[in-house]
Amino acid sequence: MNPRFRRYFFLISCAAFLGLFVWALHDLPPFGNYRGPYGDILNHVAVYERHVTDVVTAVNFDYRGFDTLGEESILFMSVIGTALLLRPQKKETEAPDEEEKKLQHAMDESERRRAPAASDAVRVLTLALTGPLIVFGWYVITHGQLTPGGGFQGGVILATPPLLVYIAGELETFKRITRQEFVEAVEAAGIFGFVLIGSLGLFARGAFMQNVLPLGETGSILSGGTIPLLNIATGLAVSGGFVQLIYVFLEQTLEVKLRVRKAK
């Protein structure tokens, strides 16, 4: 199927799709008139039943907590898949012979000519922001049940400080804080913690992910029973996963930069 024919075929199917879509739009409620009962029920009931003020987090980690477990496993398996696909191939890790060494040397030379060192402004800004970002990430994770936030958002925010360290040029520090054993342990602890807290409900009251811990008072951090714990577990899993993703993409570049730095 050559590209021209493919384009025309697509335009025809797209026109048909748009026609059917506009026809289906007539049965949707007009924009702004939300009719469905579930949203209203949850808005009225969630604050009293679970003692949380952020209904979206309550839906994500309590009412529909099982779906969140599925999403986390998707994340976990994608990270595994990416790490598997981008692992160093066998011929890249066996002992290099003379020609390989000359090739590496030539590549390192061109790399050194091309990459400028990080400027002072970049270094100051990134290193000054690293600490506040870690605190902010934990703040978003732990306050997920009170204000907009939660495990997913805070987890991704927590994954950015190592990247800032890399941008500032502190390569040895970056290599130390993203050691594979540590990051994998954090991610596995997050996923396993999620399943463990869900099993608490299974053993205590016979239903997986039942909210069995004391609910606390609305508005304090320790409210919502299992919800803050699930937030922390999700935050750990997501941040571990994203740090691993970034590291897998950066791995080869990192090795070259460290070699270049040693040669200088």
Binding site: P3, F10, V56, D67, L86, F242
Partner: protein, 114 residues
């Protein structure tokens, strides 16, 4: 005018799909896939919106106040994070394809050797 958000969602879907179908570079293809995914976000949010509604966060707001739908937002939250990991997986596939065949053009991949 009340159909405008839905039409924007359909337009994003179609233009993203057009980009996927006529792409000549794998990385361009994956970015068009991100545009297609964002069309679902627009559609979901438009369905759950209530005119004059507040966000479904009741910290300091009385519980009976009109608020938008929280279920749709819960669906979208995890969707956004999963989109990032799916894109990462696709990009690593693109890197492997380039390493194996030396090209990033989907049209030229039809002639696989051995």
């Amino acid at each position: 005018m009340t159909l405008f958000p839905y039409l924007v969602a359909a337009w994003l879907f179609c233009i993203g799909l057009y980009g996927v179908v006529t792409s000549r570079n794998f990385i361009h293809l994956v970015m068009c896939l991100a545009v297609v995914q964002s069309s679902t976000y627009v559609l979901l949010l438009s369905i759950g919106y209530r005119t004059g509604g507040l966000p479904p966060v009741f910290a300091g707001v009385p519980v009976g106040a009109p608020a938008v739908d929280p279920v749709v937002q819960a669906l979208m939250l995890t969707d956004v994070v999963v989109e990032a990991t799916v894109v990462a997986l696709l990009l690593s596939l693109a890197v492997q394809v380039h390493k194996g065949t030396g090209t990033l053009n989907p049209d030229h991949l039809r002639e696989l050797k051995g």
